[in-house]
């Protein structure tokens, strides 16, 4: 561990982590109440990955997410109000209600529409990175994927080319140990599913504690700086864990109680970072409580707003099939 970040940054990271945690919790309860349509793939437990990777990314840098996008999108700067409206299928959702839980995005803050085909975003991120180079920009792309995506053909086709052409992209494997219900131990010979397969494509990699936001942030800084300096892609493999199931009906019967206790209670990224903040004496418990209450209020307001917001007009279903000039 190198230098502890200044108080403003440390608190900023905590705020976003806490916001993601509370957003996901509220979504969970809205589903239990039966008032939210669709399905959910929650990122609870993976907040350090989203925030550590994206905290220092510029607004005009782009981010590509997966079917589990909420943490990434909030960390990249989409408001919880626009996210919540999208979850309810409302007109004011970040995608006008046409995207839904697995396709949230707002390109004005650099959040590409999230991609619900496993591995589907990998070559697209390469294309964005190539475009940045062709346009002589110094922007970079951060592309998240899961452990399961490392077994897709798109992973191998993309890494080969990204390494070959030195594209300005950071590929971030959020290895939460399970591809939906199946342990990665059943699907891959490597311990580090992405990082161990990086060298063959000429791409440097790091394995990082994905539940330690500061460790993630430092690795992110190295990888982003490499990409921005024209030194090519990096693969980061963040070891993490989702607190809930793959999707809303998954009770996680395939995980042991001991494993869940270890990851969820002992290694909770939000609680642990809170402890670190207090230990480092950058902040008092009452200061943190005030911050947390403010965030809880913001989420509650977003939920109320989204519940009451209007649905899109039926005619909008037929718009934007093809590009329409504004």
């Amino acid at each position: 561990m190198s230098v502890f970040p200044p108080k403003e940054k440390a608190l900023g990271m905590y705020k976003t982590m806490y916001k993601i945690r509370k957003y996901e919790e509220s979504i969970y309860y809205l589903f239990l109440e039966g008032i939210m349509p669709g399905t959910i793939h929650q990122s609870t437990g993976e907040e350090a990955s989203a925030v550590g990777m994206l905290y220092d990314l510029r607004k005009d840098d782009w981010m590509a997410s997966t079917h589990r996008p909420a943490g990434h999108d909030i960390a990249k700067g989409i408001s919880v109000k626009a996210m919540m409206c999208e979850m309810f299928g409302k007109a004011e959702g970040c995608c006008g209600g046409k995207g839904g839980a697995m396709h949230t995005g707002d390109i004005s803050v650099g959040a590409m529409v999230a991609n619900a085909i496993v591995g589907g975003n990998l070559p697209i991120a390469a294309g964005v990175a190539a475009a940045f180079k062709m346009q002589k920009k110094d922007n970079v792309v951060v592309c998240f994927f899961g452990d399961g995506a490392s077994n897709e053909g798109s992973y191998h086709e993309t890494m080969n080319a990204a390494g070959l052409w030195g594209l300005p992209v950071v590929y971030v494997c959020e290895n939460n140990l399970y591809s939906a219900n199946t342990s990665i131990k059943l699907t891959c010979c490597q311990e580090n599913v992405a990082a161990d397969r990086a060298a063959v494509y000429g791409i440097p990699s790091e394995v990082v504690d994905g539940n330690d936001v500061l460790a993630v942030n430092e690795a992110a800084a190295r990888a982003i700086a490499r990409a921005r300096a024209g030194e090519g892609p990096t693969i980061l493999e963040l070891k993490t864990y989702r607190h809930g199931g793959h999707s809303r009906n998954d009770a996680c019967g395939y995980r042991s109680k001991d494993e869940e206790k270890y990851w969820i209670q002992d290694r909770d990224p939000v609680k642990n970072f809170r402890k670190v903040l207090l230990e480092k004496l950058v902040v008092t418990d009452s200061e943190l409580k005030a911050i947390e209450e403010e965030i809880e209020q913001e989420i509650d307001e977003a939920v109320e707003y989204a519940k009451n917001a209007p649905f899109p007009d039926n005619e909008s279903a037929l718009k934007n099939v093809f590009w329409e000039e504004k």
Binding site: G96, G120, P123, A130, K133, S154
Partner: protein, 356 residues
């Protein structure tokens, strides 16, 4: 006016658009390798000389490799990675570029199906119009004695996908004007190019001369406007690519027998010019559809059902569809000739239809 082959017309369109707009670039396997073919059918040959490519060039003592300078080279020789190829198009298009990709053989479209159908076609829609995907995917098609995996006519798979435009130019004039339109379009455009119509330096058994006059000036051809290739009064024949050339040959014979055929080349399948077909059927009362694609679910099935739904009162006889039967395309030239609609088959069907 210059006389050009279809292959040269495509190349000329791509080169002119690359000169006019720095956002346009080319990519594909073998796109332009010195000593190579320029794609599989010579269309992109030589573009690297003007626009820069990653190449391996012969030197006195062997070869020298010049890796891709992605910031400056505009002709990208890619690995054989169709998912990557299509994904590069989607991503770079989303970020402001206008990629023109070459697939070598349309049959490889299936290797990139996710990127075309789940990604390219849906990004504008799912984002509620936040992003556009101006990309061109060039897919050589048609049966040419290469066996079942290098022979298919694939247009109909893609007309079913909302968000994709599908065109099938077949003359030098259309090739240039429609390619320019495709590159300037703000949506994913699949361009089906029939291998027997290229007229390139690579000779193909059974190829037709599609040499044609192409204006020197800049021009584009709007999608969704069919071309009436021949005017007639008895039967309307709607046929695309190689098939309208065969229908023209059949029509010459039929004319001598007193059967007058009107031949319409739709040129673009999405959007489709139903109005021109309807106007023609209003005159002839009879409709025949000819395509090289299989019978079941081909674009002809869509046209026939559209006419049944909207214009059945204009029809004096059942719609006739001439298509490849529902079997993979066989290799043996004898068998291939048997399954691909021929001039004779079109003429025979027209004679029967004329009597109804």
């Amino acid at each position: 006016m210059a006389v050009m082959s279809v292959a040269d017309a495509y190349r000329s369109a791509i080169a002119e658009e690359m000169r006019a707009d720095p956002a346009v670039y080319c990519l594909g396997e073998d796109e332009d390798i010195p000593g190579g073919m320029g794609g599989a059918f010579t269309v992109t040959k030589g573009l690297g000389d003007e626009f820069g490519a990653n190449v391996r060039v012969p030197t006195k003592h062997g070869f020298e490799t010049k890796g891709l300078d992605i910031a400056n080279d505009r002709v990208i020789n890619t690995p054989i990675s169709e998912i990557l190829l299509a994904g590069m198009c989607v991503g770079s298009a989303m970020a402001g570029m206008r990629p023109v990709a070459d697939l070598q053989y349309g049959d490889f479209l299936f290797c990139m199906m996710d990127q075309l159908v789940n990604q390219a076609a849906k990004m504008c829609y799912m984002s509620n119009g936040q992003v556009k995907i101006p990309m061109v995917m060039r897919a050589p098609c048609g049966a040419t004695n290469r066996g079942a995996q290098h022979a298919q006519s694939l247009e109909s798979y893609f007309i079913h996908v909302p968000g994709l435009k599908v065109i099938c130019p077949s003359t030098a004039f259309d090739a240039k004007g429609m390619m320019k339109q495709a590159i300037r379009d703000n949506n994913p455009v699949l361009v089906f190019e029939h291998k027997l119509l290229y007229g390139g330096k690579r000779k193909e058994a059974g190829q037709l001369s599609a040499l044609g006059e192409v204006p020197e000036m800049d021009y584009t051809i709007e999608f969704g406007k069919a071309a009436v290739r021949r005017e007639g009064r008895d039967i309307t024949i709607v046929a695309n690519m190689l098939m309208w050339y065969k229908a023209m040959q059949a029509a010459e014979e039929l004319e001598k027998e007193g059967i007058s055929c009107e031949i319409i080349d739709p040129r673009s399948l999405v959007p489709f010019d139903y109005d021109t077909v309807t106007a023609s059927v209003e005159k002839t009362g009879k409709l025949m559809i000819v395509h090289e694609d299989h019978y079941t679910g081909g674009w002809g099935a869509q046209l026939a059902s559209y006419m049944a739904e909207h214009a059945i009162q204009l029809l004096d006889a059942p719609v006739v569809r001439i298509a490849a039967p529902d079997c993979p395309i066989p290799f043996s030239p004898v068998l291939e000739n048997y399954v691909i609609p021929s001039k004779e088959r079109i003429a025979d069907a027209a004679r029967r239809l004329a009597k109804l």
